[in-house]
């Protein structure tokens, strides 16, 4: 195993290899399987003999304890095997990268919707029927607070500051002081959470839908009280995660526990309503944003304070102000977070935790400052880009935000947008909006193995492909490095028996697992150079031929016994010396119906610089997917919870509105600016998917303001809120 730490900038080898495979818009390797319904997702894998079906029972009180079950009501259902309760069952999914079990509540109930037992039956239908009809006896206790406006407890963190905010705010010539709200969100991945557990002696194999296997194995082992070496997890295909499958979920633990108790394989699939009830949601937020500036538009004071919620025992708090801390400079900056503790479905990472909702407020508030200054919002942003990260003093590793803003403005026709409220087509008011995009970039420890035999290579890692294109890009990296056509590289993912990768999360998967795959392939290049008797720097590998030191040999001949190389990478000194983030600019044009308050996005443009693009097609899909999320957060998505008992009210996809096809404009353009981030990792790439969402919704919100001349402060901009703003404007 070659261990590498990212301590300094690395040569741009992928610019020298010359195969032209890196960056190429190749279609996904798994595309045909997925569109033909033949990709074996967890619940679809062939059912082992004697497999039983489990359905989770949900608590219908916000707090208390389960005193018992009354089985009389389900006595008539054929095939019910057992109601499994166990001290090892988990309350909710573990938080991302926890690596250990979450709260195991025993017979306690901590929120309405908590899984409290698993009904196991011979058929799924019988198990679901029994889980729904089972009478649960409770002892209820005071939940102490189920709604963020009436929490049982609040925790206020110490402010994070730079400079003297109070002084800068006091002296500012122009100020905005605004409050915004964003509702709770849910990941709403197309594939509901599913698990199939099977024991062989003291070893358990879980076929699950998981994003981060290296962590998930430890979380499952810790939940079950066994050694991680006894746990194998397989997640070759995942139907979307968006953070909801970062941690091991209650369905997986329950499947393992039930399979052990019953001595037979058990499959647990969450019905959609259970996904809403018990999978980690994104917290709602209440945000106060303050900007102080000089009259000529230099920002002098920035403050962004937020209140988010979570269930007690959960360490996660939506990092709302993450991008606010590095986008713009000021003399004084201050950020304070408050966490409200409530007895309700717990919160965790949902796509781009922090930026996804923090930038909705921050970038909309900045537009209100531009209004007050009488400045073009693009110019205001350009004028306030700091030399260095204003909180840490680190230089940016690569930041083309100014180019994104200016090139985007030119391409979008920004200069022709006119005054607010000045464009109309019939009853529709037309407006344009802009917002910066920013998402901090991470490198997470990751390992890969590459095998080369003749002119055929295999990439092996427990990395997952959650619909993002991991199979495809890892194959491209190995093919580029080894001088092979992509078809000559096989990619095996999603198995904890393979080297432990970063997993998919935080948009770090492609760069992290891509780097470990790159390093393993680089190691193979060195071994080939040795065989050829040349220096690694002199080696060229192209179309299956190795050349170096005036020698030329086909790999098929040169590599007659398999070469195996394994490499791992982790972050090092560059993470301290430099600040790495993806940057971009979102532009949106909307039409707002002046009578009904309906908002239609007519076109969107995202201009992004996110380091080396590994596959132009999968990257674009990721960016567009993120922008659609941004559109949903601006206009439609709103997870509602009952103020009396905290239960989730919008428990299906008819009531929780993700953007529909008709909401998404056909004119949706993504432009990538050429960039290499030398400090990020040895392949100079950065995260993509979450940059697409970060700021996109604010551009739409700002466009609504430009169209109507009315400002909204509560997301999403559903017709009720838009007409209220129109009526308030007069």
């Amino acid at each position: 195993m070659k261990d590498f730490t990212m301590d300094e900038a690395q040569p741009r080898l992928l610019d020298q290899t010359g195969m032209g495979i890196i960056g190429k818009p190749l279609p996904r390797r798994d595309g045909k399987l997925k569109v033909s319904g033949t990709a074996p997702y967890a619940a679809d894998t062939p059912h082992p003999a004697r497999m039983a079906h489990g359905v989770l029972v949900r608590a219908t009180i916000p707090r208390g304890r389960v005193a018992g079950f009354d089985r009389a009501g389900i006595a008539d259902i054929d095939g019910v095997i057992e109601i499994v309760t166990d001290a090892r069952l988990s309350r909710n999914p573990t938080q991302g990268m926890a690596g250990e079990a979450t709260v195991q509540p025993g017979d306690e109930v901590h929120y309405h919707g908590q899984p409290i037992a698993l009904v196991v039956a011979e058929t799924f239908e019988a198990a679901r029927d029994a889980a729904q009809r089972l009478t649960v006896r409770y002892e209820t206790t005071d939940p102490g607070g189920v709604s963020p406006d009436k929490p049982k407890d609040t925790e206020i963190a110490d402010p994070e500051t730079a400079g003297d905010f109070d002084a800068a705010w006091g002296a500012a010539e122009v100020k905005v002081d605004l409050e915004f709200t964003t509702p709770s969100h849910v990941s709403a991945a197309m594939e509901p959470h599913a698990a199939l557990a099977e024991w062989d002696g003291d070893r358990v194999t879980l076929k699950g839908s998981q994003q981060m296997l290296r962590f998930n194995r430890n979380e499952l082992a810790d939940s079950l009280g066994i050694d991680p070496s006894k746990v194998r997890i397989l997640s070759p295909y995942i139907g979307g995660g968006f953070g909801s499958k970062l941690g091991i979920g209650p369905e997986a633990v329950a499947a393992c526990v039930a399979a052990e108790k019953l001595g037979r394989p058990v499959r647990v699939v969450m019905p959609r309503q259970t996904v809403f009830d018990s999978v980690l949601r994104r917290s709602e937020t209440r945000q106060r944003v303050r900007f102080g500036a000089t009259r000529d538009g230099r920002i002098t004071a920035i403050s962004h304070d937020d209140t988010v919620s979570n269930l007690d025992g959960e360490s996660f708090a939506e990092p709302t102000t993450q991008a606010s801390q590095f986008l713009y400079g000021a003399d004084g900056l201050s950020f304070t977070q408050t966490v409200a503790r409530i007895s309700a479905t717990p919160a965790g990472s949902v796509r781009a935790p922090g930026e996804a909702v923090g930038m909705l407020a921050f970038e909309a508030a900045l537009d209100e400052l531009a209004d007050k200054l009488g400045m073009d919002p693009v110019d205001l942003r350009l004028k306030n880009l700091p030399e260095k990260n204003p909180m840490t003093g680190q230089p940016y590793s690569a930041r083309r935000l100014a180019d994104c803003l200016t090139e985007g403005a030119a391409a979008f026709g920004w200069a022709d947008r006119g005054a607010p409220g000045s464009r109309r087509e019939g009853d529709w008011l037309i407006g344009m909006g802009v917002a910066s995009a920013a998402r901090s970039n991470m490198l997470v420890k990751s390992a890969s193995r590459v095998r080369l035999h003749g002119a055929h290579a295999v990439v092996e890692t427990d990395m997952t492909d959650i619909g993002t294109g991991s199979y495809t890009i890892l194959g491209q990296i190995a093919a580029e490095m080894l001088g092979l056509p992509v078809d000559a590289v096989e990619v095996r993912l999603g198995d904890t028996d393979l080297p432990g990768a970063s997993g998919s999360g935080g948009s770090f998967g492609a760069s992290s697992a891509g780097s470990s795959t790159f390093l393993a392939a680089k190691e193979i290049r060195e071994r080939i150079a040795e065989k050829l008797g040349c220096a690694a720097d002199d080696l060229t590998l192209n179309d299956g031929i190795a050349r170096g030191g005036n020698i030329e040999k086909p790999l098929a001949e040169l590599v007659d016994t398999e070469i195996v190389a394994e490499a791992s990478i982790e972050g090092g000194k560059t993470a301290e010396s430099h600040f790495s983030a993806g940057f971009g600019a979102h532009f949106a044009e909307v039409a707002v119906n002046e009578w009904t308050g309906e908002v239609r996005v007519r076109r969107m443009l995202g201009v992004m610089a996110m380091g080396r693009i590994l596959n132009e097609k999968t990257a674009r899909s990721q960016a567009i997917g993120g922008m659609v999320w941004g559109l949903g957060s601006a206009l439609t998505e709103d997870m509602q919870m009952d103020r009396r008992d905290g239960h989730v009210v919008t428990r299906d996809l008819a009531n929780y509105h993700v953007a529909s096809h008709l909401d998404v404009p056909s004119d949706m353009v993504v432009t990538f600016l050429e960039e290499r981030d030398d400090m990020a990792n040895p392949i100079q790439s950065k995260g993509i998917g979450e940059l697409g969402i970060s700021g996109a919704g604010a551009a739409i919100f700002n466009a609504i303001a430009h169209a109507t001349g009315a400002r909204l402060h509560d997301y999403p901009a559903t017709p009720d809120k838009v007409i209220a703003a129109l009526e308030a404007r007069g």
């Binding site: 949900r58 219908t60 309405h112 239908e125 679901r128 029927d129 729904q132 009809r133 019905p271 309503q273 019939g426 009853d427 529709w428 119906n593 009578w595 009904t596 308050g597 309906e598 239609r600 206009l635 439609t636 709103d638 509602q640 919870m641 009952d642 103020r643 009396r644 239960h647 009210v649 919008t650 428990r651 299906d652 008819a654 009531n655 509105h657 953007a659 529909s660 096809h661 008709l662 909401d663 559903t718 017709p719 009720d720 007409i723 209220a724 009526e727």
Partner: protein, 340 residues
């Protein structure tokens, strides 16, 4: 889903004989099966009527049309006669659900779809409609989709159908076969009943009645028809409010108006005082604003539906402006003129 008997009928008398309080008719099943999976509906018997003869055609009766109860939403919305003479109906149907659902959903089933109140859908919550006598958890709960008019203390739920709203404005009627074999017709505005103290009973149908057809009267010459649906996203969402408007302008004055409103009451809503205000007047923003005020004068029964008052008022204005030519039809808005 609970176990149930499945009775497939080839003859309508046999189907009627299999019906009763614990039975449910299944045709497209697009709403019923979802509700059965989550045990909001737990019929002991399903009576499949999809093999019955004579219920799947759209037939002309002079200038009127008889739409069989099993005619699918897709078939109905696409029928050339409907599109020419009753475009309001076509467009209301196409404003609802998805192509896949419309391919299965039937005319009779659409009329009988259940409310989308989330408390009705959640068996952990009190609901007089689902479980009579248990109470109404929507009172004091999250109530954005609830009704504005025609509610009772026992139930605040709204009827979500776009098609039924259009049929009400079109003054259609429902043809019903009783178990005795007797056929009767009931006008749309008398087909549904308010919740009162028994919100579980939503229509005038007896348990063994079968809806056999919807009867559409001849289109009104010279009218313009508009269906305006406002929802939380551009497609595939239930209406927050909707307005079906059939208006005739003659010599600069409104000569006829027939209006119905969707998703704001336990059934498609009518308010004839509004039509009376309009008829005989010249179309103007001022007139429409007053009509909107009159329509939405009553207070909202739940604080979360207070927004529906201004939204309905403004949507009515938008629909009337379009139907009378004060404003151009907006893109995606459903307006068509019937030749005079």
């Amino acid at each position: 889903m609970r176990s149930f008997d499945f009775h497939q009928s080839g003859e309508i008398g046999d189907a009627a004989g299999a019906l009763g309080r614990e039975a449910a008719i299944i045709a497209g099943g697009t709403n019923l099966l979802d509700l059965m999976k989550i045990q909001v509906m737990t019929p002991e018997r399903l009576v499949d009527i999809t093999r019955l003869d004579g219920l799947s055609a759209i037939e002309a009766d002079g200038e009127n049309l008889r739409i069989g109860a099993l005619v699918t939403n897709t078939h109905l919305a696409g029928d050339s006669r409907i599109r020419a003479g009753w475009p309001l109906l076509s467009r209301a149907i196409l404003a609802g659900a998805s192509a896949q659902i419309r391919n299965k959903a039937t005319t009779g089933g659409n009329l009988l779809q259940r409310t989308r109140c989330p408390y009705f859908y959640d068996t952990s919550q009190a609901c007089n409609k689902r479980a009579p006598g248990t109470g109404c958890a929507a009172q004091g709960g999250a109530g954005r989709m609830l009704a504005l008019f025609g509610t009772s203390p026992d139930c605040l739920a709204a009827h979500p159908s776009d098609m039924a709203t259009a049929l009400t404005a079109l003054q259609a009627s429902v043809e019903i076969r009783a178990a005795s074999g007797e056929i009767r017709t009931v006008p749309m505005h008398e087909f549904y009943r308010g919740p009162g103290d028994s919100p579980d009973i939503e229509t005038v149908l007896a348990p063994d009645d079968i809806v056999t057809a919807v009867l559409l009267p001849a289109p009104r010459a010279g009218t313009k028809q508009t269906y305006r649906k406002v929802r939380d996203r551009a497609s595939y969402a239930f209406a927050l409010v909707s307005v079906a408007a059939i208006v005739k302008v003659e010599d600069g004055r409104i000569a006829e108006a027939s209006l119905a409103y969707g998703s704001i009451a336990p059934h498609p809503w009518m308010n004839h005082a509004v039509e009376e205000m309009l008829v005989g007047q010249a179309p103007s923003d001022d007139l429409f604003a007053r009509a909107g005020e009159a329509l939405t004068a009553a207070p909202a029964p739940h604080p979360d539906t207070e927004y529906k008052r201004p939204l309905l008022r403004r949507t009515l204005i938008a629909a009337l402006r379009e139907a009378t030519g004060l404003s151009e039809s907006a893109h995606g808005v459903d307006t068509a003129r019937i030749p005079a």
